[in-house]
Amino acid sequence: MNSKVWIVAKREYLTRVQKKSFILVTLITPIALAVFFGLMGFIMNAGSKSDQRIVIKDDTGIIQQMAAADKSFPYEFSDSNIQKLKEDYQSQGYDLLIYIPPLRDSSTMSISASYYSKEKPSLSMLETIESHLADQIETFRMHRSNIDQHLLDSFKARVNLENGAMDPNNPGNSPVVGKLNIIIGTALGFIMGFMMYLVIFIYGSMVMRSVMEEKLSRIVEVMVSSVRPINLMMGKLIGVGGVGLTQLALWAVLIPVVLTIVSAFMPGVDPSQMSHVGNVSQVNEASFDNFSFHQVMVALWNLKWWLIIPVFIIFFLGGYFIYSSMFAAIGSAINEDMGEGQQLMLPIVIIVLCAFYMLFPVLSNPNGSLAVFASLFPLFSPIIMPARLAFDPPWWQIVLSIVIMLSTVWFFIWLTSRIYRVGILMYGKKATIREMFKWIRYSD
């Protein structure tokens, strides 16, 4: 390629990487992420534990009797008169008073009790109290009917659906780990899809802003007399793309390190909690709790990273070039007013958002027809294909998707450079999308 492209790319890369803001953002993001996860973990812990003191006046006698044997029962009992209690439960240091009137019929299905509280208790707290009380009554009734808890437990069944065709190359795999792989794949797919989405906007708008600044400062007039516009644009795309790769590589190292350090020092935050903060998709909290930390690590270790990482980088670059070339064309067409840019950006935003929301159906059915279509269609594939990688998509799909995407990259760079070369020298006029398409047909 033209040596001037590399001279331009080198400048674009070095000026950005040496900026204080780049260094700060690169260092602060992992720390902010760690603080966010830590905070989420802390909030979840704090939210699940109630610091409210609750006192029960039990006129049935059943609950108090059963609770005496149950060490995990969290509430206290009082024998005082209910009228007197209503008056001074607060002065005794309680926040909530529960009154259970005597049962008329000891086998009745529904039992009503009343609560007294100065502040309105939350729904979840009331439900917790209800279930604790019901547990005690159920236990009492089982005892009365001479049903043993072990007998009852022995009736229960639990069905786990596992992949019948386990990877034969991986003898260490147990069925449990097979399911774990799906969960991890979904999480990883979502994280990678989301990262692509961020990358397109962060670096795309970086390209757009820089093209616009060059146009407004008129430096571009000086530049185009030495560098052909397409080479100038390519240099900029390569330089900023390099910045993106550098930032991602640094984060790939820094984020795990910082998270490990923070999880070691923050009390009450364990890795499984962090994972459900990260898993916004279908992975529910309960499913993770069934696996040990060790199993998660093994499953992560067993992922085909040798495939995922290089393919992710190819799609990162492909997606970046397709979208940032469009952003470069927009940057060349706008003048002082950033609002114009937003208007022109709208079609791109819609396409990227479509791809992003497609992540959800695709990840719930990662080899379905929507997934296959979206991972081949070049405007969606940079977001969708990386998300599917952990589910072992067929080789031909990965290869075909890359071929289609790279052809699209080539086409878009050609197309947008034709808009760019006209746009950068066009001042004062507000460009519409229709007009930009006309520029494509202008002769050189």
Partner: protein
């Protein structure tokens, strides 16, 4: 010996013809002026010469080769609208632009330092562009245009927005470069500069060639046989032989003599009539006047 030749160059933008069948030739080692009002097509023509855009029809020759993308590295181009990267250091910036003109990293650094030193600006090397005053930035822009030692220097409205010190600095530089054999093509809408500096000019209006040629020849072609006389005493009341008094103020009078007549006849006539002649000079039309006359003439047609 022409360094640059345009043949029937035409460039259309969607609703207008920016350059309409322009042909001209720039002789090596001369200063060539491209004149015309704003929007006449000067910048469009320059952009074709610098290969920023291509002509729709017509051909451009640079050093007798059809213009191609390798040629701009031998040209220095100072655009009318010019800027610099504000956050870059002066030295890095100059090296960057010089390298894009094809200089090696080592050559670029050496030449940029020598050039900055020649302009007494070497101590700006590590300053950011944004720390410089506007006049200093203009100096840097000019240095960037010539640092790779171009054989053809193209300056688009080089004097607009310059303070008087920088104006004379750039004027001196243009003459110095010319003496070194560099060819200079510059555009301006200020006609008086052209008379001072250029050998040849082209006048452009609405994309069309209005006038082309050597400045002195053009002025001679368009002269109206006007002579200005400074005198003492009084002028004769009547003139014969086709002599015409165009205007008179204090002790200066302007005469027009008939085409076949000579100034000597006018002088003789005045001396015979008792006038004392103190000064006598031919009035050549300024390029500005010629231009206005030409443009009006065309628009009347």
């Amino acid at each position: 010996m022409s360094i640059l030749r345009l043949e029937n160059v035409t460039k259309k933008y969607k609703d207008q013809v920016a350059v309409d069948n322009i042909s001209f030739e720039v002789k090596r080692g001369t200063i060539f002026g491209m004149l015309g009002p704003n929007g006449a097509g000067k910048t469009s023509t320059i952009r074709i010469i610098t290969t920023i855009t291509g002509p729709d029809s017509g051909t451009v020759f640079f050093e007798n080769e059809i213009l191609n993308h390798t040629h701009p590295s031998r040209m220095g181009y100072l655009p009318e609208e010019r800027g610099l990267y504000k956050k870059m250091k002066v030295g890095d910036h100059l090296i960057y632009l010089a390298r894009l003109k094809g200089l090696s990293a080592h050559d670029a650094a050496t030449k940029c330092k020598i050039m900055l030193d020649r302009f007494d600006a070497l101590d700006w090397w590590n300053k950011k562009v944004e720390e410089l005053s506007k006049g200093m930035q203009q100096k840097i822009q000019f240095i960037a245009t010539i640092v790779h030692e171009p054989v053809l220097l193209i300056l688009d409205e080089p004097f607009t927005g310059l303070d008087p010190i920088n104006t004379s600095m750039i004027q001196d530089e243009i003459f110095r470069l010319k003496n070194q054999g560099v060819t200079i093509l510059f555009s301006t809408h200020r006609m008086e500069q052209v008379e001072e500096m250029c050998e040849d000019i082209i006048l452009i209006n609405h994309g069309k060639n209005v006038l082309l040629g050597n400045v002195q020849e053009i002025r001679n072609t368009y002269k109206e046989n006007l002579y200005e006389v400074g005198f003492k005493g009084s002028l004769p009341q009547q003139f014969n032989g086709g002599l015409e008094l165009v205007k008179q103020f204090d002790h200066t009078a302007v005469f027009r003599i008939p085409d076949q007549d000579t100034p000597n006849h006018l002088l003789q006539y005045l001396m015979q009539s008792g006038c004392e002649i103190q000064s006598f000079r031919e009035i050549l039309p300024s390029i500005n006047e010629i231009f206005i006359r030409q443009v009006k003439g065309i628009s009347h047609e």
